[in-house]
Amino acid sequence: MSEPNTKQAGVAAEGVALRVDLNSLLADSQVNEVLDELDQALIGLQPVKTRVRDIAALLLIERARKLVGLASGSPSLHMSFTGNPGTGKTTVALRMAQILHRLGYVRKGHLVSVTRDDLVGQYIGHTAPKTKEVLKKAMGGVLFIDEAYYLYRPENERDYGQEAIEILLQVMENQRDDLVVIVAGYRDRMDTFFQSNPGLSSRIAHHIDFPDYSAEELELIAGTMLEQMQYRLSSSGVEALREYIPLRMTQAHFANARSVRNALDRARLRQANRLFAQKGLQLSRDDLMTIEADDIRASRVFT
């Protein structure tokens, strides 16, 4: 945790500030950069962004309260991210770790991402050390439990998942300063998971729901993905993609941004094949970058 900058805060003789300059506090924490980055890098997700801003504001005010000597209990920041596959839960968790670190809420700001396999053991007495080891690694940062509902298996009463949950709860309660736990998963299954584990639900202060992307947002996402991979669509390719996305959305196993990524990967494959087929041709930089309409229209969703 960085020491509060006393010069900017206008400190009285006793070491307790009389007034706090929020702007300088904000500038000190550099949290605005992360928030702006979040705004730009992630398309859509308005409710999520609002919530993240709220949390950042709360932490900043807590810090200001501490500077003027008001009571400031560190708020509980365990979170639950619910949403369909590919809506950016992991990505936001990673940013969240950065934001909490900049605001001085966690000391290191790293993200440890685990699933049931990393927490639950295979035989009696294996679970507790395994869970504790993961928790120890996550201390000072954020523990991200993906598909957390797998921890609880009501159909098998001898399942060791319950043991992992109990250890988790204990640490979530007693060592709030040391780590933040984020559980994530699909909406409906998380709801039943919380219903059967009221202790867990009550210890999680922030339930954030990730909405599905609209077709326009997915198109924007495809744009940024291509940019990162240094590809681009030809003008007819843009149209083909515009037709492709709504079609793909109606199909089974649609996973939002992840489906878009997969579609683009397959388009790259076809582009490579197409370029390979016209051997002997001199390929320009442009040729290597451009994905044509045919590369997208060859997809199975158009048939």
């Binding site: 000391r107 290191k108 790293h110 050390p129 080891e133 928790l135 120890k136 690694k137 996550a138 201390m139 000072g140 940062g141 060592q175 040391d178 780590l179």
Partner: protein
């Protein structure tokens, strides 16, 4: 007689905050921290009991401190030390070791003189506490 072995042993006992700071230093160097305990702290007894496995891939000292506290709770009247292992090629050894818990009463060591080969004398030290069987020392 206060037993002095390992780093910081001539200083007053470290507080939990100081222990945390030292562990954090070790982690920042990339060393793996482990906790060990014994009721036989003879200077030649290198092999103390392990309290759990060495902790690799830790980022923050809070995790290791929970183990120190747990070990202290289970063995309040034993010697407990924190060790930091450096896996760098060329070192591959313990770089830091310090005692984080000791019994309230440390009776110390007696000098034993053994007559050998006529008038020759061999000297050795013997712990008063270690005369009791294992598990019943320092109670």
């Amino acid at each position: 007689m206060k037993i002095t072995q390992g780093t910081f042993s001539f200083l007053p006992d470290l507080t939990d905050k100081e222990i945390t700071a030292q562990i954090q230093y070790a982690l920042d160097q990339g060393w793996a921290v482990s906790v060990e305990y014994t009721d036989d702290p003879h200077p030649r007894n290198y092999f103390w009991e392990m309290w759990g496995n060495p902790m690799f891939d830790l980022k923050d000292a809070a995790g290791a401190l929970t183990e120190v506290l747990a070990a202290r709770k289970a063995h309040p009247s034993n010697y407990i030390r924190v060790m930091a292992f450096d896996a760098t090629l060329g070192f591959e050894t313990t770089r830091l070791s310090f005692i984080v818990n000791r019994p309230k009463d440390e009776p110390g060591y007696g000098l034993v003189r053994q007559e050998v080969d006529g008038r020759n004398i061999r000297y050795t030290i013997e712990s008063y506490a270690a005369k009791a069987p294992e598990g019943r020392r320092y109670t």
